[in-house]
Amino acid sequence: TLKDDVNALLDNARLESQESTSFIKATKVLMK
């Protein structure tokens, strides 16, 4: 179960990173 928990958390962390990257891009478009 520890392995499954870490896998789930890793997927969650990667998803959050993608969201943040697109958030920063969107913000920079509006700043222009």
């Binding site: 520890l2 870490v6 896998n7 890793l10 962390a13 990667r14 959050e16 990173s17 943040s20 700043m31």
Partner: protein, 85 residues
């Protein structure tokens, strides 16, 4: 809370002793040996996953700093617009 800390400290030691007791008959029980060896392999796998997870967290901490910089420069821009207003 000191007493609670003391209790969890002692409980953790007791838990460790119980775990070590569970492998005491390692020799008599070959299945136990196999299980233990599998756990050993899983530990390597989980450690590799934790390494990836730690890298992801470091990346997120860097992203946080960029978001904070963005927030600060936006605040400056708002002040300019407010001043214009």
């Amino acid at each position: 809370s000191d007493l609670e800390q003391l209790c969890s400290y002692v409980n953790e030691k007791i838990e460790n002793i119980k775990k070590t007791l569970s492998i005491r008959n390692l020799g008599q029980d070959p299945a136990l040996k196999t299980t233990l060896s599998k756990i050993g392999d899983e530990i390597i796998t989980v450690n590799e996953l934790l390494n990836k997870f730690e890298l992801e967290i470091q990346y997120q901490e860097q992203t946080n700093s960029s978001l904070k910089e963005l927030c600060a420069s936006l605040e400056e821009e708002f002040k300019d617009v407010d001043h214009l207003n």
